[in-house]
């Protein structure tokens, strides 16, 4: 179980690097397109279409990363004032509802993909992209998210059952203020060590 959690965590981080890389490549492509269009009145065509697919694919593959980093916002005004038992129940309920939703979304995303495959749908653009390619990658991302949610849910229940409350909390508890600040401030702190020459 623990190994599975570690693996998914590492996999999701890897997905974030790839997702970020795809977005960066997209930025380069769009920038080239704008400059060519403005300066030389040339259009490569299709840059925006590919960018749209890049957005769908990079986000669907990194929803799981945000989940592992507790970036999905939860309103914790009441949560923090509740006893531990209730909080644990809410953590499990949150993951269960999340899992239920992604199952529903996966099913309907698959229907979109299946329709495209059956009708051999092609994007109504100069590129004429066969839609099953981007939609397939997008659907696979959502399916991965669903899988990760159920791994996290199983891991939380497993740790609770083993009496490891803080371990369960670190998997699925709402992010504490301390964790949030670490995420936000980590990059900035790096630079403080870079020198204190101001002003």
């Amino acid at each position: 179980m623990e190994r599975l959690i570690r693996l998914s965590d590492r996999f999701s981080t890897w997905a974030a690097w790839v997702g970020g890389g795809i977005l960066f490549a997209t930025a380069i492509m769009i920038a080239i397109e704008v400059v060519l269009r403005k300066l030389f009145a040339i259009s490569m065509g299709g840059a925006d279409e590919l960018s749209n697919y890049a957005l769908a694919i990079s986000s669907s593959w990194t929803f799981g990363y945000a989940l592992f980093r507790k970036a999905h916002i939860r309103i914790d005004v009441f949560y923090v004032r509740l006893p531990q038992r209730v909080r644990q129940a809410l953590d499990v309920l949150s993951l269960a509802l999340f899992g239920f939703c992604t199952l529903v979304v996966s099913y309907f995303a698959f229907r979109v993909l299946w329709t495209s495959i059956q009708r051999s749908s092609i994007a109504n653009t100069p590129l004429a992209t066969p839609l099953w390619i981007p939609q397939g990658l997008w659907f696979a991302g959502i399916l991965t998210l669903t899988l990760m949610i159920f791994i996290l849910l199983a891991g939380t229940l497993y740790r609770l059952w083993a009496g490891d409350a803080s371990g369960a909390q670190s998997l699925s508890g709402a992010s504490t203020i301390k964790e949030e600040i670490e995420e936000e401030a980590a990059p900035a702190e790096l630079r403080t060590t870079g020198g204190g020459g101001v002003p």
């Binding site: 960066f24 930025a27 749209n52 990059p187």
Partner: protein
């Protein structure tokens, strides 16, 4: 009936600390099942795919990426040092440089939290060195950071534009003047407080004109990014998404010039970008589905009729809405607050005869207030987190004068809507 049940369900889900994106989606499913005779959920896949591939939404990850690169490229330090030379002779000293740097950085960053975090790391060490009251000093940073979402580019304005079908270029242009004015209001607040109670300020510092002019070159990077991003939109060369892509390239060039790029830099930029992007995208995609369901059950019409039946004048309606945001802003995280309320409130505002672009700017001011009002005000916690000593209540108290400053700005914008709209009319 529909309104009451929908609101009750939403409150229940949110209070149970269900992730906001999930709460919104569950609400969309439930409202569809209860109030519509059509199987609305059958088109869920198509709606998700459409939102996931919306070219406009691509602007959000690109602006996040732009911010992540700039955050780590060491630009804020140079800007701060230059503005220190120009502004620190005023009563209040370095605190004016805090606001000035925040305003400049806001012109390249679409996020308030990122702006506050950046300024904190550069400025907070100076508070100790020059003997400032740390609570108030930290308050100026928390408040200054909120400018990040008012002065374009702004991720929150893109979210608003997406949810209400309002022109993003117009919203961006409309944010410039109120943003600069709010920075001036903040500086006036500091000035007045330090004139009345001189012990609130620390050492004032002076610089020679030669030093000042030679420091101007350190402002160039920020102006360069702003010119690329906002200039290309204003000139009509690029859509907001395209301008964000140009901004990313410009930021990379700067980071390369400052030799900040290495493997660690790239990894952190990618991780930071995707964490924020995935969070925002999931909320927006879910919200888009909820909007579709609410449209199908005629929610906007129901609400508008409800408000019309209340018989309030447009100005009273506006005041009620402002009051609602002030109260909700105390407790609810800001992006969630926007996504949940904007689709419901904006139709009412438009029915009352207000301009959607103008309301977008007003809303951002209210969101800025929410960012520095306790108990839930993320900027306060970010600044305190980097300060790492003393008590958060000092930062809360230090930010309070700026809450009044934002109120004043809201008043100005209500009385003179053209402050926002005259630039918006040019694009």
């Amino acid at each position: 009936m529909t309104i009451v049940v929908t609101l009750a369900l939403l409150l229940l889900l949110l209070m149970a600390s269900i992730p906001v994106a999930v709460a919104i989606l569950v609400l969309g499913l439930l409202v569809g099942f209860i109030f519509s005779s059509f199987p609305l959920h059958r088109v869920m896949g198509e709606i998700f795919w459409a939102a996931s591939t919306d070219f406009l939404l691509l602007a959000i990850p690109l602006f996040v990426l732009l911010g992540e690169i700039l955050l780590r490229a060491g630009i804020a330090k140079r800007t701060y040092s230059a503005l220190d030379k120009w502004l620190s002779w005023l009563p209040g000293g370095l605190m004016h440089a805090n606001i000035g740097t925040a305003a400049m950085f806001a012109a390249t960053s679409g996020s308030s939290v990122a702006t506050a975090a950046t300024i904190s790391t550069v400025a907070l060490p100076q508070a100790r060195r020059y003997g400032y009251r740390e609570g108030f000093f930290a308050g100026t940073i928390a408040a200054g950071g909120t400018l990040g979402i008012l002065i374009p580019p702004s991720i929150n304005l893109i979210v608003y534009g997406f949810l209400t079908n309002t022109s993003i270029p117009q919203l961006f242009m409309a944010g410039i003047v109120p943003g600069v004015l709010l920075a001036v209001v903040f500086m006036l607040v500091i000035l007045v407080i330090c004139l009345v109670k001189p012990n609130m300020g620390g050492a004032r510092r002076s610089a020679t004109w030669e030093e000042r002019f030679s420091s101007l070159k350190d402002l160039l990077p920020v102006l360069f990014i702003f010119a690329v991003v906002i200039g290309s939109i204003y000139a009509g060369w690029a859509t907001p998404t395209e301008s964000a892509a140009l901004g990313v390239i410009a930021a990379v060039l700067l980071a390369l010039r400052y030799k900040s790029v290495n493997t660690g830099f790239v990894k952190e930029v990618m991780e930071g970008t995707m964490r924020t992007t995935a969070m925002i995208m999931l909320i927006l995609i879910s919200a888009n589905y909820l909007n579709f369901v609410l449209d199908a059950v005629g929610m906007a019409e129901l609400l508008s009729r409800f408000v019309t039946n209340l018989g309030l004048s447009p100005m009273n309606t506006l005041l009620v809405i402002i009051a609602m945001y002030v109260v909700l802003g105390l407790f609810v995280e800001t992006l969630s607050l926007m996504v949940i309320t904007v689709p419901i409130v904006t139709p009412v505002i438009i029915t009352s005869g207000f301009d959607p672009v103008w309301f977008g700017i007003l809303l951002i001011l209210l969101i800025e207030m929410a960012l520095i009002t306790p108990p839930v005000g993320l900027n306060l916690y970010v600044v305190q987190g980097i300060r790492q000593k003393g008590n958060i209540s000092e930062v809360m108290l230090g930010s309070l004068p700026f809450v009044i400053g934002i109120f004043i700005m809201i008043g100005i914008l209500v009385v003179y809507p053209d402050l926002a709209l005259f630039l918006a009319k040019l694009v």
